[in-house]
Symmetry: C2
Subunit: 197 residues, 2 copies
């Protein structure tokens, strides 16, 4: 499989960075998926189910790439048993972070590897993050520094950046928290012969 | 303490990167410490003791900086109950990696924060890394890609780079594995008023 292209079906900068840092060869093709419509269609499903469904939909949206390995992932934040999307405005981000401060939440992730419309491999994970108590001044300072980039992450933070300042403790695989279960993925890529073992 | 300078007493690129990514202000001053001499002086001590001793020696080597917060860290690899230093040559790196492949090892870390010659805070950690079985061809490929940079890391790998390809599983705080217990450190920096809470 070493000549099969690996396609990252994602527009996420950090997912691309994770694969690049590990030295993998791949192509980036952001999928065109109406995530909100899919979520509405499947209301009432568990968050883990929804994340898997979205990851599969993203991979399946990359058409006409026979034999290519298509990698897609989704991550949903679960706080007080509610699923959270990305914030839509800085004001919403501030409200959201103020709610989560001093409490824990989970990141529910799903990742799939598809080939010719068939799921070769799927992976699910649940990581726990404990956000520290944050004063309003510190929150304003954080938002001023990070700016509209907070609207690109599901939790209004990037743990690999200044977002680390918001946490007391994180539990779970770091790469998965960032957006891709890198070690598990590479294990699978070795298993199917895409990476040499 | 917000006007007190924070000094990173380290020549390590990744330690600098971790603090930078999190948005901290600091100065880098690599310390002049004869690590081998210190290790020889303290033969027979536990690895954790040795790591703490080295971290303290590095911080203490930064002189004439009244009131500055001096941060230093040390990391020793423990494999089969033996402490490992950085490899001295590519050949030694290859032998070392071949020995560790398919087995687990630990990274024993110590970090201190000193001010006016007094230890304000110290932190110790032990993380477990499970290296996968690696064929000789894959090992040669890894070494060819990474080059002499493998000689800069205690385990001949950087988990944040291509070194991730060598692992099945890592257990423990990611930042600590890389070289600094970032979350615990920032908690302390907030406690002493260097970072706003």
């Amino acid at each position: 499989m070493q000549n099969t292209p690996l396609i990252l079906a994602s527009g996420s900068k950090i997912r691309r960075q994770i694969l690049q840092n590990a030295g993998l060869d791949f192509i980036v093709l952001p999928p065109d998926v109406d995530e909100d419509a899919l979520k509405n269609q499947h209301k009432g499903k568990t968050i883990a189910h929804l994340a898997r469904l979205l990851a599969k939909a993203k991979a399946a949206a990359i058409k006409e790439r026979p034999n290519a390995l298509i990698l897609a992932s989704d991550q949903i934040l679960s706080f007080n048993d509610r699923a959270f999307d990305k914030a839509k405005s800085m004001a919403q981000a501030k409200t959201r972070l103020a709610q989560m401060a001093g409490k824990h939440h989970h990141l529910i992730s799903a990742t799939v590897l598809m080939q010719n419309g068939r799921v070769l491999w799927s992976h699910g994970a649940k990581c726990r993050l404990d956000m520290r108590k944050i004063s309003e001044a510190a929150l304003d300072d954080y938002l001023a520094h990070v700016g509209p980039d907070v609207l690109h992450s599901v939790g209004c933070y990037e743990l690999e950046g200044r977002g680390a300042q918001l946490f007391d403790k994180v539990q779970g695989d770091y790469f998965t928290i960032l957006g891709l279960p890198l070690l598990a993925l590479m294990k699978e890529l070795r298993k199917i012969g895409y990476l040499s073992s």
